[in-house]
Symmetry: C2
Subunit: 452 residues, 2 copies
């Protein structure tokens, strides 16, 4: 069977640790059973591996998340990136086309779609296994997971089963209600409505036919090319709500969206993470520090303190669900990024009275990794190597560089760098002003360079 994990979002609700490229599912704040740091998506992939499911995993995401996924899950999953952001129906259609044309999955194979950031327990995957079984037994075209509603939340979609028979292993779905008012939600709970868990199982062919109504192809490359022809609509609206043959399998266990600080800190392994000094008089609070500067905290109660490369949050736990409004207007470049080749940190982003602009970064490449061969039209760069060894290419000429060396890259000069060992350099970009997307990428054949 195949599992499609949906990895979306660019939320700022966990600001300053989450930003436009680092969505919440990539924050390594949780802990695996060995005590190692783990992100939400790493946790879900680990849990699938530990379950009885014998599943291949493919992650449907945007191009901006590819590097994070490769860094955190490299080798464990396939990645399908949308050419543009277009909601869950097209993303699932594209993933199914990938499975059909790239992985040779048949129309009969069962596919399960689920969010990549659900915080849940092992029993959840037992329910997933049951859902797959029901598809295999042709109980319905579409099998979805329902979570018994615990309170009348206006934040969830609801599923109303036709028969709410106690102990039934599945229930026919009567209808869907998207984010009702709290009053309506209360009414629905009385009728046995469940929250829609966003987990769906079906056969490949079912989805292939639905997608072909818009773009009549099962070829991945072609569908990706014509991605804009698929409607911008969620799977819930386009498929689940219109389906005539749908059953729901209930899961009554730990199932959470760690979507704001209040929800997240409840599940964290520690109340102080990073360079943090807690005084004696700290109560019900969590302090997370990703910076090298120390954070000292004392005399506070029920607060969340989060210090990251993008900013510093000091927030009462109750208020943490409302920070989005304060954070949204902050327009700042990401100050820290993980890439497939390593990481970078912005050390300084300075504008001067004469209109010029400099950007200083610390850039680390992992052994064997390289950045693309590129030129800039508006900026010069000075790189000072401070750790390790690598091969630097300037205008087609390759040479060894090592800690202590400095290279100057004038405007319009082709350049690239490959790490031989862990390699760190301090980059100073200068321009008047610097232009964010001032980069043009070219091909470079590293094999012709060798180890020099």
């Amino acid at each position: 069977m195949q599992i499609i994990l949906l990895s979306g979002g660019s939320g700022k609700r966990l600001w300053p640790l989450s930003n436009s490229t680092r969505s919440k599912q990539f924050l390594q704040l949780l802990q695996d059973p060995d005590g190692k740091k783990e992100s939400m998506v790493q946790r879900v992939v680990r849990q699938i591996g530990e379950s009885a499911l014998e599943a291949s995993i493919i992650i449907a995401t945007s191009a901006s998340q590819r590097d994070f996924i490769e860094t955190q899950l490299g080798g464990k999953v396939d990645v399908v990136t949308e050419p543009e952001r277009r909601e869950t129906f097209p993303a699932i259609a594209l993933s199914v086309a990938y499975l059909a044309s790239q992985k040779g999955c048949s129309r009969d194979e069962v596919v399960l779609v689920m969010p990549c950031d659900t915080y849940t327990e092992a029993r959840y995957f037992d329910v997933v296994a049951k859902m797959v079984e029901f598809v295999e037994q042709d109980v319905a075209d579409l099998v979805l997971m329902g979570v018994p509603a615990k309170h009348a939340s206006a934040d969830f979609g609801y599923v109303l089963p036709a028969t709410a028979g106690e102990g039934a292993s599945y229930m026919k779905v009567e209808h869907f209600i998207e984010k009702p008012t709290e009053k309506k939600a209360q009414e629905l709970m009385g009728k046995g409505a469940h929250w829609n868990g966003g987990v769906f199982a079906f056969r490949m062919g079912y989805m292939m036919d639905l997608a072909a109504r818009y773009v009549p192809t099962h070829d991945f490359a072609e569908l990706r090319e014509r991605y804009g022809e698929l409607p911008k609509i969620s799977f819930d609206y386009e498929v689940a709500e219109k389906a005539s043959s749908v059953v729901m399998v209930p899961f009554d266990g730990k199932w959470k969206d760690l979507g704001d600080w209040k929800a997240l800190v409840r599940e964290l392994p520690a109340h102080a993470m990073g360079n943090v000094i807690l005084g004696r008089d700290v109560e019900g609070s969590t302090v997370i520090n990703e910076l090298s500067l120390p954070v000292v905290c004392d005399g506070v109660k029920n607060v969340v303190v989060a210090a990251g490369h993008d900013g510093i949050l000091v927030c009462g736990k109750q208020s943490s669900e409302y920070i989005k409004q304060y954070v949204d207007p902050i327009h700042m470049r990401p100050m820290f990024e993980e890439r497939r080749w390593g990481t970078y940190r912005v050390l300084d982003d300075a504008r001067y009275a004469d209109g010029s602009h400099s950007l200083t970064k610390s850039i680390t490449l992992h052994p064997g990794k390289y950045i693309s061969y590129q030129i800039h039209h508006h900026r010069t760069e000075v790189w000072t190597f401070v750790e390790g060894e690598g091969i630097f290419v300037l205008d087609g000429e390759a040479r060894r560089v090592k800690a202590g060396d400095t290279v100057i890259i004038p405007v319009e000069h082709y350049h690239s760098i490959k790490a031989l060992t862990e390699l760190t350099f301090i980059e100073v970009q200068m321009g008047n002003p610097l232009i964010e997307e001032d980069i043009e990428r070219f091909d470079w054949d590293w094999s012709k360079v060798g180890g020099l």
Copy 2:
């Protein structure tokens, strides 16, 4: 008349904004009547200027504070630096020798000594004027200021007047009690004791004779040379407590030591300073941010948040007096310094697996300013100029540099830089490891270079 301002302390009680070089009196958090930022020492010097006193000011301090004083008060005060830290009696003795031998003050001239960081109001200086008058009238050898004790604090020295006559303009002092227990303080208050305000007036000759008992010279250079022979003792113990002819002049007005966050924030002009976003639900709190990163704060009550180059503090107001214990163990180089030539900020201080070490700074020199001609024995430096123009000297050869240029300074090469305009460069230091005091300074005659 002469005023000696005592500028000591390297307190961490206002951490992270104060550190070993930036004492609390240099923090520019207050506001002058024109709405400009002002430090405590700037405020006191301004208030003296606005008072009826016609006084020259000299600041007695340590060498590490000289650059701050020149930056904040350049031209308005003389500075006398102690060759080593030795308490207030030797510091005052050295300042008096400076007044006698460098400024030609006579033995009869009245000197007033006061702390440089008292937070007070204009009327305070009227009392100071009266103190000076009483010395001129030879009412006593030593005239000091007493502040009516407002509560039984164990943190102050107390002065018990012999006659506590209501409305007297001065009172003879019976005796001194250094930091009594609270119980004893209560008892003293009943007897009309005052807090010792640390303000003393006397004639030059009085102090010159007292100092000469230890080092028989009135020559500044000689006394500075023999500074270690002066006893390490406070003026209170060595002079005030032993004096036979002492009167006290009461000052019953605003008189505060803004020594911890709780006391300081009460006097600040705003509750948010720097790049700060306050949510709707913030009460009785102050957020100060010296970093460029945004601080977002919501849902907190009675807290102080201070973010600076040395760290981040999140603290209940009541707890702020106890932070010293948590902050003292933090051993970190200062991350931001003001110098006579400009400022620097540490952007990155990194150690690598192979034992090597790099330090990246942003350094700004003001127009016309220069750093000393120097060599390093263990580190190489790469400077990339990002703003302005200057003259760079390497091994005796001077040349113009400007934004966009990069210079490499290998180990053991003599170098210096002078700014022609506001000049900023990014410096990357490398060593294995870097040694903090790896610098040797030499003379360089900038006049022979000219403007190039």
